[in-house]
């Protein structure tokens, strides 16, 4: 994937052909399931996801803003925090894009997301303070991962340990790329950054240009054991088991019933591996 430069290859086809073929568009579906540990305690699912769209005229696929968030288990109001975070983030990012339309270049998108990050943190703190008081901000602790689909650009802003995998071309395991993930090794994974942390300024922001992107899979850390692995150096990478590729492939089908995503999250093989809330928000480029 490149950042701001046109590749020296022919880009993927977009727009209507002379024969009036339907243009490419993003198909987006999400699912979230309460983790077993929360079921036992009678607690809410602390994961949330949201999606907003900007419908435009023109031949390119519409712009979409996607977000997932994971409330901190130790924070008593984190379920509210995660819901507030995804709703607020998608709205603020969309409202930044709306006045001038889709970003033209990856640097433009990156700059937009960096500005949005500051606004999201400030506004989140303002709202929580108004609701519960400044001394209780930490009770709403949550991670947040935002993706902007502005084909052929994709940008992201992430605070915490959510992750994003992109598919390029015709799919298959070799065409899955881990675009972003919180990278702490498991033994030291005790320092998750939250939207309420003093270190929330240490968000990861980036945007890339790639006309070959055909799918995006984003999730909270609950699905890391199922979809990612650690290489010998301890770095995260896409797992060899084709979970992500299969999910994106299913979504390629117009007739796919999205309840299948919930079925996946409820599989015993998944709940054996992770007791955490699990969430996925996926998008495929299709006609």
């Amino acid at each position: 994937m490149t950042s701001g430069r046109q590749p020296a290859r022919q880009p993927a086809p977009t727009g209507r052909s002379a024969g009036g073929v339907r243009p490419y568009r993003w198909r987006i579906r999400g699912a979230s399931v309460q983790g077993y540990s929360h079921v036992r305690e009678g607690k809410w699912c602390e994961d949330s996801f949201a999606h907003l769209s900007l419908y435009e005229r023109g031949s390119l696929p519409d712009v979409h803003v996607l977000a997932v968030a994971d409330g901190a288990g130790s924070a008593p109001r984190s379920a509210e925090g995660s819901r507030l975070a995804v709703a607020m983030a998608t709205r603020l990012v969309r409202d930044r894009i709306h006045p001038s339309g889709r970003p033209a270049t990856a640097p433009d998108l990156r700059q937009l997301l960096a500005a949005a990050h500051e606004e999201i943190v400030t506004e989140f703190r303002r709202v929580v303070t108004a609701v519960a008081g400044r001394e209780h901000i930490g009770e709403f602790a949550t991670t947040l991962t935002v993706v902007v689909l502005a084909y052929p650009l994709i940008g992201y802003l992430s605070i915490g340990d959510g992750f994003i995998v992109v598919r390029t071309g015709e799919g298959g395991q070799t065409n899955l790329h881990l675009l972003d993930a919180g990278s702490a090794d498991p033994e030291h994974a005790s320092q998750t950054v939250f939207l309420t942390s003093d270190t929330s300024r240490a968000a990861r922001v980036n945007a890339v240009y790639d006309p070959w992107i055909t799918g995006v899979f984003m999730s909270t850390d609950g699905l890391i054991p199922v979809t990612l692995r650690r290489d010998p150096e301890g770095r995260l990478a896409v797992a060899t088991e084709p979970v992500i590729d299969t999910v994106l492939g299913l979504l390629d089908d117009d007739h796919f019933d999205a309840s299948g995503l919930v079925q996946l999250l409820l599989r015993e093989a998944v709940t054996e591996v992770t007791q955490d809330d699990t969430t996925l928000l996926v998008a495929v480029l299709c006609r």
């Binding site: 983790g35 077993y36 540990s37 036992r40 305690e41 901190a72 288990g73 130790s74 071309g169 015709e170 799919g171 298959g172 090794d185 498991p186 033994e187 030291h188 994974a189 005790s190 998750t192 055909t214 054991p225 199922v226 979809t227 692995r229 650690r230 797992a239 060899t240 088991e241 084709p242 979970v243 590729d245 299969t246 492939g249 299913l250 390629d252 089908d253 796919f256 019933d257 299948g260 079925q263 996946l264 599989r267 093989a269 998944v270 054996e272 591996v273 992770t274 007791q275 955490d276």
Partner: protein, 247 residues
Amino acid sequence: MAPRNSPDRATDRRQPRDVIGNIPIPRPSHRVLVVLCMDTSYSMRGEAIDKLNDALASWARSMHAGEKMAATTEFALITFGAGGVRKWRGDESFDPRSDRTPFVPAHSFRPPKLSADGVTPLVEAIRLSISVIEARKRQLAQEKVTWKRPLVWLVTDGRPTDDEGKPASDWHPLAGEIRGLEAAQKLALFAIGIPPIDDLGQETLRAFAPERNMVYGRFDFSDILLQLDRSVEDPNYKLRGYQPRQA
């Protein structure tokens, strides 16, 4: 799954639910090691040890009967009191000097029926907890299995004593060692006090776990185990009811 424009994709007419149900899911590649370090000294006789046994049995049943802990969690039980310091696997207790690991997968955890007697060799029990964790890490490393930060849950109703039941003073260096291990993210110790723990006993717990200590006013072992479950899921877990001391 075949690539999007592949003829194989066009002929792959399996129902999506069949496909979802058959996706290979990775086996767990990391473990959470949890040591339950339980006081079974003489002062635990009667209601306390009965309630502890009941809570452990109920908790283990919840892990067996389809409500299971993640396959990645392993538990070890170490007791201090009756029989001195003991390691346990199921009903069997064995010499702490044995190389045998007391860790078992969560769904296989079967607590013994504990009895209360003897003094409170708490320091030796904590040192053994640390030792069994390090031994298990070495085994996992050989199997190329990674682990999250291990947890030790210490539950006691009194202060540490020596072999003769007199208050021990050798716990001070241990508290410093634990601080060092926690600072290096090698361990997280939760220190729980139950009645009739006194002020000096509580001071010991605060020294061992400045931010993860708590004293219960009654024998609520079920709640203790519930909080243990939460700590397995969340390395940053703060004990419900933890009260930071005023400076």
